[in-house]
């Protein structure tokens, strides 16, 4: 018996055999429809299968390649595919087709994912933090933002007067600087180690010595 994965436009979906499952990460980030990706994405495919893989193929748009899964655990296989020829700017689709020795087949399709290389990096949506407000003594706050392209990024957190409270840098290939959704955390401390007081602390996401469009957020610190 085989089931076919069907992907509706604008969302990832699959029809799966009872023992087959696929998930992917692009440059370490789980993609969602509409996410930006790097022009040369590194795609990690994790396959859950009750039996060994018989054949596997990955297609980026119309270019197909074989996937070589390696077992990492019982029923768990991992394959990595690197796109060496830079993808053009625009929407792209990634399709993965897997058949195991039990003759179970699975097709996974992720689209649309878009590549933006020519324009400056931007942030899709808002740069937000969670929890907000947050209590530095109890928790950290996660600052999430979706970069349109990889970039070396600085996260500068300020007090109301614009005095730098904390500065964190991220390389383009690290969490915080990758294309797509990034999440970093701040523990509510100054660079010197002391906690900040209650209040609102604006932060800026800076790339190429400019504030990334939509790269301004405000963190509320509220100790309970």
């Amino acid at each position: 018996m085989s089931l076919l994965i069907v992907l509706a436009a604008g969302a990832f979906s699959l029809a799966q055999a009872s023992s087959l499952d696929i998930s992917i990460k692009i440059n370490g980030i789980k993609p969602y429809p509409g996410d930006p990706i790097s022009a040369t994405p590194r795609i990690e495919v994790t396959l859950t299968s009750s039996s060994a893989v018989q054949s596997a193929k990955i297609s980026v748009d119309s270019t197909s390649s074989n996937l070589n899964f390696a077992a990492t655990d019982i029923y768990r296989y991992l394959a990595t595919h690197e796109v060496t020829a830079a993808l053009t700017d625009g929407n792209h689709a990634i399709t993965i087709e897997v058949t195991n020795v039990s003759n179970e087949a699975l097709t996974f399709e992720a689209m649309p994912l878009y590549v933006q290389s020519a324009a400056e990096v931007i942030i899709q949506g808002f740069a937000l933090n969670y929890p907000n407000p947050f209590d530095p003594g109890v928790q950290s706050t996660r600052i999430g933002y979706t970069l349109s392209k990889p970039a070396n990024v600085k996260l500068n957190i300020f007090d109301l007067a614009g005095n730098l409270v904390r500065k964190i840098s991220f390389a383009a290939d690290q969490e915080g600087g990758r294309a797509g959704y990034n999440e970093v955390s701040w523990d509510g401390r100054y660079d010197g180690g002391n906690y900040v007081g209650n209040g609102i602390y604006p932060f800026l996401i800076i790339a190429n010595r400019k504030v990334v469009p939509n790269g301004i957020g405000k963190i509320t610190v509220f100790k309970q």
């Binding site: 005095n163 730098l164 002391n194 209650n198 100790k223």
Partner: protein
């Protein structure tokens, strides 16, 4: 005392800091003043707190304020995320300088979030209200001079912070700043401001607590150029340099440096530049200040490292005060006048021409109002009468118009005798008139009496009035001792009497009726101006001594005899017989020519002196005045000539002549 307090507070602060380190550190909104003047100088402020901004930056530097001061600024900070407001006011008094300051910051729009259950990503939580935050401080400052070159100050600061929205809470705190300013050298100022030395503890209404962060600020200022002795180099332009160092306490980590200069190419224009080095990085700052009417407008351009795209423009407006003096005049009255500079009025000359110089002007009597004002603060005024002058025009000299104005210069021939010159001037052709007259007597001097003779005026006028005559050889013999006959003649001629040509007996056997002075001697004897000798003689040719001459003239002037007074001249004894005549003559001003000299009573009484003394008598002065004013030389209405003829055999009264 102040030093002890400072030391104790510093030590106390050192012990308190670690103990409170577990709390969060909250921003003091007055830590950095975003007024354009300090911003334009890279944040240097300690040595430049000579305006109201000193309430926060260094109260001790405000002791030399002359007027109340204001500083205000309002702008958006941090890419327009924060609204910043600054207002400072300082009031110098006899008891020190008091100040009030407010600094506030607020921000809104911190959005509550939640996790998307499908993606586990952060999304907005529209069910909760966005958070806003206010952070405000008000300060009350005071500063005063401790001794010459040293001042101390401080402020009491009250903080209020509030979170509203998804997080709702508020907190208050109080801290103290202490500051001092010291001038070790005239051109060097050293200052310190220990900010938040008490480390205010913010107690939030939900039970949390924070501390107010602060810095120990040290700074200096150099007066590099300037026109006063307080400058390193004397120059008409001014240049100041400053350096501030911010040493953090209360667990803040960054040590900041500020370096700046302020240059006055003109008195009311300041150019500024500086470097600001803080936790954000190092930034170049530029600024300009324009001063007018007691107000100063400041602008600064300062990019803040770490905040790319931040608006680099800063503005502030300050009231510095300016003392102004304005003077206005209101014409009260005009008084035209003619003032002759030459010739002197009633002067005697032997010249045939005279140069005339006169001022033809009008005194303008003005109500002059002087107003002393301090812009927008106070005004006092004083009104007093002042004089100004304007030229008269047109001007007439003896009825002939002249085109000269102001100082009139002319010349005119002089006839022998009295000459009158009149100048008439008008403020406008139909306006007020002023006039002046000068009279000049031209004489043909005697050959032995030049115009420079000390007694030329009395001699000339005595001759002109017919009181005395010269000799046929055109001499006057001014130094010749005057005889009794000559003096009597002189006196009688000065009197308003017309003597008959025929003379009866004089009563003196040595003065026959044919004597040239018989009629004068007869009348003088009759009027008891003179007396004869016991032997019935008059001794008309006897030369009078000075004492005798003055005695006769004193009697002639009908002066009251004064006895028992100190001797009127140093060489006269107190019991000198003629003192009673000499003293009143001196008091009447008849002996001015002997001022400071000895009297020398036995010296012959010369003709010149006789003219001088007679000239000073009131009777003759009246005739002289009338002559100058009218040109009349006669003695006036003559008396009926008396006939002092003693009867035959009648005893002739005898007097002791002196």
């Amino acid at each position: 005392m102040i030093r002890r307090i400072v030391i104790l507070m510093v030590l106390g602060s050192c012990f308190l800091s670690p103990a409170l380190a577990a709390d969060g550190i909250s921003l003091d909104p007055s830590r950095t003043l975003f007024a354009a003047r300090p911003v334009g100088m890279g944040g240097v402020s300690l040595g430049f707190s000579d305006d109201a901004g000193g309430v926060f930056s260094n109260p001790s530097a405000m002791i030399d304020l002359e007027f109340p001061q204001l500083v205000g600024a309002s702008r958006k900070l941090l890419l327009d995320q924060t609204q910043y407001t600054l207002f400072c006011w300082a009031l110098p008094t006899d008891y020190g300088t008091f100040g009030f300051g407010f600094t506030g910051m607020n921000i809104a729009g911190s959005l509550p979030t939640k996790l998307d259950p499908a993606t586990n990503r952060i999304i907005l939580d529209p069910s909760r209200e966005a958070t806003s935050y206010d952070n405000r401080v008000i300060a009350f400052s005071y500063s005063r001079k401790v001794r010459e070159g040293l001042s101390a100050g401080g402020n009491l600061k009250f903080f209020n912070q509030a979170l509203r929205g998804a997080a709702g809470s508020s907190a208050n705190a109080m801290t103290v700043d202490l500051s001092t300013t010291y001038h070790p050298l005239p051109w060097l100022t050293a200052a310190a401001n220990l900010q938040n030395i008490l480390e205010g503890n913010l107690k939030w209404s939900n039970g949390a607590s924070d501390k107010i962060g602060g810095f120990y600020k040290l700074g200096c200022r150099l007066n590099i150029l300037g026109a006063t002795e307080e400058s390193l180099v004397s120059h008409r332009q001014k240049l100041y340099g400053g350096l501030d160092l911010d040493i953090p306490h209360s667990a803040l980590s960054s040590t900041n440096y500020h370096l700046g200069v302020e240059y006055f190419p003109l008195e009311k224009i300041a150019l500024r530049a500086g470097f600001n080095m803080d936790q954000n990085g190092t930034g170049l700052c530029l600024g300009v200040g324009l001063i007018n009417g007691g107000f100063r407008f400041d602008y600064a351009f300062a990019e803040r490292p770490g905040i790319p795209g931040d608006t680099p423009h800063y503005f502030s407006l300050s009231y510095l005060g300016e003392r102004t003096v304005s003077v206005s005049h209101e014409l009260k009255e005009k008084r035209p006048y003619i003032k002759f500079i030459q010739p002197r009025d009633r002067s005697v000359t032997d010249k045939s021409f005279v140069s005339i110089t006169a001022e033809a002007k009008a005194e303008r009597i003005l109500d002059t109002k002087t107003v002393w004002a301090v812009t927008a603060i106070s005004e006092t005024f004083e009104v007093k009468e002042t004089l100004a002058y304007e030229d008269l025009t047109p001007v007439y000299i003896n009825g002939v118009i002249t085109d000269q104005v102001g100082t009139i210069e002319s010349s005119s021939p002089l006839g022998v005798g009295r000459n009158v010159f009149e100048i008439l001037g008008y403020t406008t052709p139909e306006g007020q008139a002023g006039s002046g007259e000068v009279k000049v007597l031209r004489i043909v001097p005697f050959s032995d009496t030049p115009i420079s003779h000390w007694a030329i005026d009395p001699i000339a006028l005595s001759v002109t009035l017919g009181l005395v005559t010269g000799y046929p050889d055109n001499t006057f013999k001014p130094e010749k001792g005057i005889t009794r006959a000559e003096l009597v003649t002189l006196l009688v001629r000065s009197m308003p009497v017309k003597l008959a040509e025929s003379v009866p007996s004089t009563g003196f056997r040595d003065v026959p009726t044919t004597h040239w002075a018989a009629k004068f001697i007869a009348y003088g004897s009759y009027r008891k101006l003179v007396t004869g000798y016991p032997d019935g003689t008059f001794k008309p040719n006897k030369v009078l001594t000075r004492a005798e001459g003055v005695t006769i003239l004193s009697r002639y002037a009908q002066l009251v005899e004064k006895e028992g007074l100190p001797a009127p001249f140093p060489d006269l004894k107190a019991d000198f017989w003629a003192n009673k005549y000499i003293t009143p003559a001196k008091e009447a001003g008849m002996l001015k020519y002997l001022e400071g000299k000895n009297f020398e009573p036995s010296k012959p009484f010369p003709r010149a002196e006789a003219c001088e003394v007679l000239y000073r008598t009131p009777t003759v002065q009246r005739r002289v005045d009338r002559f100058w004013e009218t040109g009349v030389v006669s003695a006036g209405t003559p008396e009926t000539q008396p006939q002092p003829q003693p009867a035959e055999g009648t005893e002739v009264p005898t007097y002791e002549a002196r």
